[in-house]
């Protein structure tokens, strides 16, 4: 049984059909990269996995349980599925430590001491033990994104979704964030990431999913997919990157 199973997911924004029947299985410990041109539906697909976008048709199963549209179902889903955003979205009025502690306290009703212990652990994991008392505007983009990762991890999700987590960063800050993601992958965290970092995807991911016009066009082992694309669309996408 896969950890997350998407079946026949359809989604439209008005008249625009963004997802036209997506089937995707995510196994425990798997690292999946969603690639494709902008507008191919990869970010929307990612956002349906934790219910940030509602779906028009299809089913989402997490750990064998179907996710309905009831609030308790959605909460359960989000406890299982964490997310990191392109724009970090840290809470500007809280310190790094408070950002990480907030949700465990408020949503999981952990005691302050408990939440603090986990938060310190997670901030250490992303290498920011010395920045705990800093506010987001006192941190670099790369540091903010690492706090955002720690914040998501503190909820102990079973899957972490990463939506172009390095796209808003200055080039010199990209690697510190990728290093953290790589470390998570090595520790066996289940990851689904939308990314433009092809070399990183190739090195770290078990599976590459190429999306084109709202469908999964091609998927498989990254080496294979990159070396011998089966469809002209992927060939041109990969070629376009190389050229």
């Amino acid at each position: 049984m896969s950890l997350v199973e998407l079946h026949a997911i359809h989604k439209s924004f008005g008249a625009l059909q963004v997802l036209k029947g997506i089937d995707l299985k995510i196994d425990e410990g798997q690292v999946i990269a969603l690639i494709g041109k902008s507008g191919s539906g990869k970010s929307t697909l990612l956002r349906t996995i934790n219910g940030l976008e509602t779906i028009d048709d299809g089913t989402i199963m997490v750990a064998g349980k179907k996710v309905g549209d009831h609030d308790t179902d959605l909460l359960q889903l989000r406890l299982n599925v964490g997310m990191v955003f392109q724009q970090f979205n840290l809470f500007p009025h809280y310190t790094a430590l408070e950002n990480v502690m907030l949700s465990p306290q408020v949503v999981k009703k952990q005691s302050k001491g408990e939440a603090r212990k986990i938060a310190e652990e997670m901030l250490a994991k992303v290498g920011l033990s010395d920045k705990m008392m800093h506010y987001p505007d006192q941190l670099s983009g790369g540091q903010q994104q690492r706090v955002a990762i720690a914040r998501a991890l503190a909820m102990k999700p079973r899957v972490l979704l990463c939506d172009e987590v390095t796209s808003a960063l200055d080039p010199e800050l990209v690697n510190e964030v990728l290093a953290v993601v790589r470390q998570l992958a090595e520790e066996g965290m289940t990851l689904v990431m939308v990314t433009h970092e092809m070399r990183f995807a190739r090195e770290v991911c078990d599976s590459l999913v190429f999306m084109h016009q709202g469908r999964i066009h091609e998927s498989g082992n990254p080496e294979h997919v990159f070396a011998s694309p089966k469809t002209p669309e992927l060939a041109s996408f990969v070629g376009g990157l190389a050229g």
Binding site: N89, F91, H93, P136
Partner: protein
């Protein structure tokens, strides 16, 4: 004919000014409570609730305060409710204040970045938790200067209640004028008293604006 000294005039106006201040505070506090409730109803996003609040705001922004007070003062007795000028003035000004504050605050809530909602949703928070810990603390910082600024409008709005017979600063001014036949002196004093109430509020609003402009947290 008795002679009135300036002190007689000012002394009596000061007594009446207490009611202006009290009515302003009441209208502001009650209006804030109603305005906050309307804001929450509207932000929670039920379509009918949104329409209702929008209509409510349009109604009070689109009619003169004087008409609103007339309708409260003359309308409630038609429903069999006997209202004193005190109650009519408080009720009318509360409605007026709530409509403006809820609209000011809506703008503040909407100016909080959408990513803040998304991040807190993704962390499993429900609407109440998001509002309480993420959205309102940020909206509040933005809201303080315009809210304090609007309190000046409430103070000046209380002058209109003199028409329905509520004895506050303006009404007292009219009454004293009728006894002294010195309208310029009396209304001059009235204006000075309003200014003394409103100006510190304006200054405070400006001070807060400068203070919050540089602070993002």
């Amino acid at each position: 004919m008795p002679e009135f000294t300036l002190w007689d005039i000012v002394h009596n106006l000061l007594l009446a000014a207490r009611w202006t201040v009290l009515l302003s505070i009441l209208a502001f506090v009650l209006g804030s409570i109603v305005g906050l409730a309307l804001l929450l109803v509207r932000t929670a996003g039920n379509r009918w609730a949104v329409r209702f609040v929008r209509g409510y705001v349009e109604l009070f922004q689109g009619t003169p305060l004087l008409m609103q007070l007339f309708i409260v003062f003359f309308g409630l007795p038609l429903l069999g409710l006997d209202v004193s000028p005190w109650i009519a003035a408080t009720f009318g000004l509360t409605l007026f204040t709530s409509a403006f504050l809820t609209e000011i605050w809506r703008g503040c809530v909407e100016s909080v970045a959408k990513g803040q909602w998304e991040a807190s949703t993704a962390l499993g928070m429900n609407f109440t938790q998001q509002m309480l810990y993420v959205i309102l603390p940020q909206a509040l910082r933005i809201a303080v200067p315009p809210t304090v600024g609007f309190s000046v409008q409430v103070v000046k709005g209380t002058a209109v209640t003199s028409i329905i017979g509520f004895v506050e600063l303006t009404k007292a001014g009219t009454m004293i004028t009728n006894a002294t036949y010195a309208p310029f002196t009396v209304y001059g004093c009235v204006a000075v008293l309003y200014f003394l109430i409103c100006y510190p509020l304006s200054l405070y609003a400006r001070h807060l604006e400068g203070k919050f402009r540089h602070v993002t947290r």
